[in-house]
Each structure stands twice: as C-alpha cells, then as structure tokens.
C-alpha cells in the first residue's frame, strides 16, 4: 500500500472511529493505562520495583494498613502514615569538644486517632570509640507542654574506616522513658477514679497520651485529641568536632497508608499496582498479538490451500491444542527459571489454536466468496488473495479476539503466579494476588490487597474489549449503519 493511501486510510479510520463512543472510552482508558505504565518510575519510584521482594526496604511502613482515603468513610480521622526526612537542624558548639546537634521535626496533627507509633531513625557518625553520641528526644505539644520521650547514649556503632556509624532506631512505643514520662504527665490531669483503673505505667499507651488534650481520661485513651503543631526535638550530643548526623528521619506510623494501603509485608500496594500495569500491558498485548497473528495466518492459509495440506495443518493444530499448558510450564520452570519472557513466548505458541480453528472456518467461507473467484479470474496469485482479500476480512475478528486474549493472558499469568510458577523478578498483578492469597487476605478482610489488582485486571480487559468492539464496527463496512 502506498503512503498516500495509508494516510487517507488512517484519516478515514479516525473519522469513523471518532464516532464510536465506546471505542473512545476504551482509548481514553488505554491512554491512561499507558501513561501509568510509562511514568511508573515517577508515580511509584524506581526503588519500589527493585526492592519489591526485599522486605527490609518496606519496614518503615505499617502492616495491613487500609488506604488513607478510608478516613472519608469512617467517623474518626485516622492519622496517615507520614515519613519526615526534612527537619530544622541547629548545631551548637558547647565547648570542650562537646557539640549539640538539634533536629526539629514539625508534625501537624489534625486527626482523631493518633499514630500507632513514632519512630526516629538516624545514622550517627562518631570518631572517638570511647565516646559514642548521646540522644535526647522531647516532644513539644501545641499547648506548650513537653514530654520527654527518650534519653540514652547510642549503641556502639559499626567501625567504618576511621570512624564509627551508630544506627539509631527509637520506637516511642517501646521506650520505657516515654511510657513513664507519659504516665507522669497524664497523671496530673486525671481524676482519682480513673487513676485507680491504671495499675502501672506499662499499661499506658504513650502515643495516645501525647496526642490528647490535658483533661480527665487522658491516660485511658478517652480524652479528646489535641490538634495542632507538634515539634519533635531530638538533641544529639557529640564529643568530637568531626561527628555528625546522617539520614535522620522520623516516622509517624499511621493507621492508614497511601492510596491503596499496605500488605502484610508492609509493601505499598499502590506502587505495586502501578508497576504491575507495565507488565500487564506488555504481557497481554504481546501474547495477544503473537498468538492471534499466528492463529490467523495459520487458519487462513490452511483454509485457502485446502485438500491434504489443510488436513495436515489441522492435525498440527489439534496436536498443539492438546498440549497441556501447566505441565509444560512446570517442566520448563524446572529446567529454566520461569522468566516472564518464557511465559509470553509459551502462551503465544500455545494459545493460537482456537483462533486458527475459527479463522479457518471463516477462511473456508471467504474462499467461496465470488470476489475471491473474481480475483483469481483477474490473475491474482495465492499470496495476493490470502494477504489482500482473505486476511483483511478476518481482521475485525482478529482484533476482537486480540482484545479478548489480553484478559485471558493476564489471567493465565495470574494463575501461574498463583501456583508459584510466575516470574518472581517482576511485579505483576497476579503476583500481588498470589501474595494476598497466601497471606489469607480475604479471610482477614484486607480487601485493599485483593480488590485493586483484581479490578486492574478487569479494567485492562474492559479497555481492550471496548476498543475491540469499536474497531469491529469501524473496520467492517457491512456493519456500518447505512
């Protein structure tokens, strides 16, 4: 086909396609999916993909947290998960080689349910092995009160070249100081009756005390929340001029997390679903195009050649169709690692048989059309008849079939992943669902682990079905409204 023609054809096609509302919706969905897939590194960070199966990477997240927007549906606002790595730093030389590094984190608390925990993390670099730095942690409440949370020298650090690195990981919920201080703080405002109910400081949740108003019930988690700006002040005392703080951050562990919550391994499911889009599209489209392409070419050729060649090709088709997919894949995964490419190739090589059967029966019908005979009468050869006359006739079917193959390829991959036969080096929705299944997500009511990847598979399926239907209407002139 010449370029001019092609341009005209595309123009005509677009003109017709624009009138297909369903198709336009499908295209919009596809564009959205493509944008998500292409900009996955921006939306969901490269690190999430690389560390999806590295559990340590995720341990700052809460486990099994529902999505943040759940707050809109519950009466009480639950505090979201916030990781703060920006802070005000004030370094003060106290003389005598002593140096104070003051880090201030500003936390705007405006929720009803306090964070489950407050963590401070940092790497402290010091040079004098005998003098590891010392840490003091204080919380300044909006009402001006302060609560001491932690006060201890750091643990001995790991030796690195000429200095030492001490990793600090303070969990307020696990800090005895915090518990005691919180109890002492709250006791002043409690009624006698209430105090009787509390046996010891160990039974007090410091997080709830910290974020409550100074009124009776503060120790019993019954007081109203105190909303406003809190300051977490961490003072680190160093005993050498060269000592310094590295990668400090505070984590207000939320009851809810992000757009789609987290799974039991604390992984951000939103990032997983976003990265899954890439493979979903690649896997679905590649498998659909390859398998349908093979099927159409095989079926049409078989129908056109006819006679014993047709018989022979049909027996091949049946032989391939009867190959059991799963056992073969298990076998392959025993020999090779079940890479996603192997899965795509294998699906393409096995999934064309149905298409080929239908394409053949369509081909047998098309072969009898008068215009095929007319083309032969004009002198057209086999190749021209197959390529120009027969294959274009089945293209609507091919497109519709491709559209339908996309979800089935996705489901097959999900099924394989479910059996542990998926490619564990990539993130697919199937893999996420597999994780949910093994963790018993449905039984535990962790719907945000199951629904989004499932819905994503359905949306991709729907997208292609809508596009397929519209293409069918446009590419098949007989179906056009007269």
């Amino acid at each position: 086909m010449r370029w001019e023609d092609l341009k005209q054809d595309i123009k005509n096609f677009l003109f017709e396609f624009r009138r297909q509302k369903i198709g336009i919706m499908g295209v919009i969905l596809l564009v959205i999916l493509l944008v998500i897939a292409i900009f996955a590194p921006v939306i969901a960070t490269e690190g999430a993909k690389d560390n999806w199966r590295n559990m340590a990477y995720w341990d700052e997240n809460p486990a099994d947290a529902p999505p943040a927007w759940m707050n809109y549906f519950t009466g009480k606002d639950m505090s979201p998960h916030i990781i703060m790595d920006t802070y005000d730093e004030k370094i003060e030389d106290l003389g005598g080689g002593i140096k104070r590094d003051e880090l201030t984190f500003n936390y705007d608390y405006k929720y009803d349910v306090p964070p489950t925990d407050l963590t401070f993390k940092a790497e402290l670099i010091y040079y004098n092995a005998a003098k590891p730095p010392s840490i003091n942690m204080v919380l300044l409440r909006p009402d001006g009160n302060t609560i001491k949370l932690y006060s201890k020298p750091s643990k001995t650090g790991k030796s690195e070249e000429d200095h030492y690195v001490a990793e600090v990981n303070v969990l307020v919920s696990a800090s005895d100081t915090a518990k005691k201080e919180a109890y002492n703080f709250g006791r002043e405002f409690e009624t006698k009756d209430n105090l009787k109910k509390i046996l010891s400081a160990d039974f007090v949740d410091p997080m709830s005390v910290i974020f409550s108003k100074t009124e009776p019930g503060i120790l019993l988690e019954e007081a109203d929340p105190l909303k406003g700006n809190y300051k977490l002040i961490v003072d680190i005392y160093y005993f050498d001029k060269r000592d310094s703080t590295r990668s400090a951050k505070s984590i207000f562990a939320g009851k809810v997390y992000g757009l789609l919550g987290t799974d039991s391994n604390r992984r951000d499911l939103f990032k997983g679903v976003v990265w899954g889009t890439r493979w979903a599209l690649a896997l679905g489209l590649l498998t659909a195009v390859f398998s349908v392409g093979i099927g159409i070419a095989f079926g049409i050729t078989s129908a056109y050649l006819g006679g014993w060649k047709d018989e022979f090709m049909q027996r091949i088709n049946e032989a391939v169709a009867s190959l059991p997919f799963l056992p073969i894949l298990i076998l392959i995964s025993a020999v090779f690692k079940p890479s996603i490419w192997n899965i795509i190739i294998l699906m393409s090589l096995l999934f064309w048989t149905g298409t080929a059967k239908v394409a053949r029966s369509m081909g047998l019908q098309i072969k009898e059309e008068t215009y095929i005979e007319a083309a032969r009468c004009l002198g057209a050869g086999n190749r021209r008849i197959i390529l120009r006359h027969m294959i274009p006739q089945v293209m609507p079917y091919a497109f519709a079939n491709m559209a339908l193959s996309v979800p089935s390829a996705l489901l097959t991959e999900a099924g394989l992943s479910f059996l542990g036969l998926g490619d564990t080096t990539v993130i697919t929705w199937g893999q996420i669902l597999y994780g949910a299944q093994t963790a018993g997500a449905t039984l535990r009511g962790l719907w945000w682990w199951v629904v989004p990847p499932g819905l994503a598979i359905a949306i991709v399926g729907l997208t292609f079905v809508m596009i397929g239907t519209a293409l069918d209407t446009v590419l098949n002139p007989k179906m056009k409204r007269m």
Binding site: T370, A374, L378, G379, G381, R384, R388, K478, K480
Partner: protein, 329 residues
C-alpha cells in the same frame, strides 16, 4: 467471420466425496456431470446466449472458458490458444484476454476495497501502469467508459455505498481495464431491477461495438437474450439441446424443452391475466449426479417415445444453422 472461441466435446465431472465408510467399503466414486459434452463456436464481436435453468451447467461452462476450473475432457480454443493446457505466465497472459462478470454485484466485489482499489488490482497484478498517475488515469478512463461519472466522486467509495447498477458497472470496468477481447457475463443483470437491467445491457452493447468484444452471455432470462445476443444455445443437464440464431430459436423453437422454457416466460399482457398457462413439461429437474439414460430430457418430455429412454440424440443441423437434439420434432 472466423470463430474466436471454439469449444469441442467439453466435459466437466465433479467427483462426489465419499464418506469414510463408503471409501473403505470400496464404493465407486460417483460424479456430478455438470458439463457433459458441449460443442459451440462464437464468432468475433458476436454474442452467444447460453440459456438454461439453474444447475444445468451453464455457469460451469463459463468457468471452464475462463480456466477457473480445469476441464475433464474436451478442447477450448480461444484465438488459436489451447486453453486447457495453459500454465504459469501463459495462463496469466490469458487472463488479460478473457474476463468474467458475475451475477451478484454485491458479492463479486470485495466489500473492503474502495472502488479505486477494485480497479487498481488488475493493473497491479499484471504490472500495467508504471506510476500512480498513470494507473489513476487508466482507472478514471475505465470508470468513464462505464459511465460512473465523475470518477473522482466514486473512487473513494466503498461498494456498499453504490447502488446495484453502479456496482455492476464497476464490475465491468474492472473486467474492461485489462482490455480483454472476450467476456463471460454470468447472469450480469438477473439480480438487478428491471429498470436498471436495460441500462447495463445497453452499456454491454456499447462496449461491444466500441471495443470489438465477444460475449458469452449466460442467463436464464430468454427475453434479454433476444435483445442482446445474436445466437442462443439452450442447455439442459450439461448438454446443449438446441442452438441457433436467436430470433430463429425463439420464434420457431423445436426442442420440447425450449418450447417449455419459452412458454414459461412471463409477458406483460394484462388482458391475459388469470389465464392458467400451459407449460409443456413434467416433473422437476433431476439430480445431475443421476442423469437419466438416453435422452436426458425424456422423463419430463411431453412427446417422449420409448426410444428416447435408450438413444441419446445428437445435436443435428436442421437447416439455417438451427441445431436441435431431438429427432422427433
């Protein structure tokens, strides 16, 4: 005038596929004798109307002449070329010489092709026209010749956007663009409205005069053959039963089958309405796989004699090139 096409002893038998069990039981393969010994000549720039009911083998004769199927037996000579043995490039060259136009203008054009593509295809197949503009000119000229004007309004349309008559004219343009000398027209007007039939027939006549075309006009409609053809051959179950000058045969039919056919032709004479017509024929057309012995028309013939069951009549010249295959008329 010399005959441009000569057909001698043409036969085409289609084997009936045996079922698996029949083939292992060693049953003999049966044949449908679609064409069973046909002879005729067509002179240059003349038209022969091949008339008969459906299933009589007239379309098969057309396909044999265009070499869409190979004959079982017999000789076809067109302009001195032995058609039956053509192969490869010779066959491709022959296709430029002989073209076919089909009955159904809805089915004979690929619905996905625009009119431009329809007409460009033969040019591309035969490598006619070096450049786009050259081909375009040929296409425009072909469309103008069949009165699809102005061509630029039509080349980008799909067949379903044209009326039946227009499509049939496009079919003619497609056939004519290769400048053939012989055209097999297989019921070219039978699917069209009566008001359009005349237009297509006039067009065919005009093309014949302008290009010196020869036609084999296959039809079941005897009244259009009188208008369009010089000669007529009436076919029954794979054989010609009567042949001759079209006026002679229609006005003075001899074979009982021709008589029956002619009596059945409806004529717009309202004064004769409600009159039950006498159609001198019995029963229905037998299966072509099981052709009656002797004269194949005898089970339906109103003047059949005993001898008709055994003796197959020859096509004999009864004077004035009026051939009849019945000794009893």
């Amino acid at each position: 005038m010399d005959p441009i096409l000569q057909v001698k002893g043409l036969k085409k038998y289609f084997p009936i596929k045996l079922s698996f069990f029949d083939s292992i039981r060693g049953r003999e393969v049966q044949y449908v004798k679609a064409v069973d010994g046909v002879d005729f000549d067509i002179n240059e720039t003349e038209t022969l109307a091949l008339v008969g009911e459906s299933g009589c083998g007239k379309t098969t004769v057309g396909k044999l002449i265009t070499r869409l199927i190979d004959p079982t037996e017999g000789v076809i000579t067109l302009k001195g070329i032995d058609v039956a043995t053509l192969k490869g490039d010779d066959l491709k060259a022959y296709r430029k010489e002989v073209q076919m136009v089909y009955q159904d203008p809805f089915a004979s054009i690929n619905p996905r092709f625009r009119i431009y593509d329809v007409l460009e295809e033969p040019l591309l197949i035969h490598g006619i026209g070096e450049s786009i503009s050259e081909r375009e000119e040929l296409i425009f000229r072909a469309l103008e010749e069949v009165k699809i004007t102005p061509p630029e309004d039509y080349i980008h349309r799909y067949p379903h956007m044209l009326s039946g008559g227009q499509r049939q004219r496009v079919s003619f343009a497609r056939a004519m663009i290769l400048e053939p000398s012989f055209i097999v027209a297989d019921e070219p007007v039978s699917m069209l409205d009566v008001s359009i039939r005349a237009e297509i027939l006039e067009l065919m006549k005009e093309l014949q005069q302008k290009r010196g075309l020869t036609y084999l006009y296959i039809t079941h409609d005897i009244s259009t053959s009188r208008f369009f053809a010089q000669n007529i051959a009436v076919m029954y179950l794979g054989k010609i039963v009567e042949m001759g000058d079209v006026r002679e045969v229609i006005d003075n039919p001899l074979h009982p089958y021709t008589k029956a056919l002619l009596s059945a032709v409806p004529e717009p004479i309202p004064e004769r309405r409600d009159m039950i017509k006498e159609i001198p024929i019995k029963g229905e057309v037998p299966n072509a796989a099981n052709i009656p012995s002797g004269c194949r028309f005898h089970p339906r013939c109103v003047i059949a004699k005993d001898a008709c069951r055994h003796e197959e009549p020859e096509l004999v010249d009864r004077g004035n090139r009026h051939y009849v295959a019945c000794p009893y008329v």
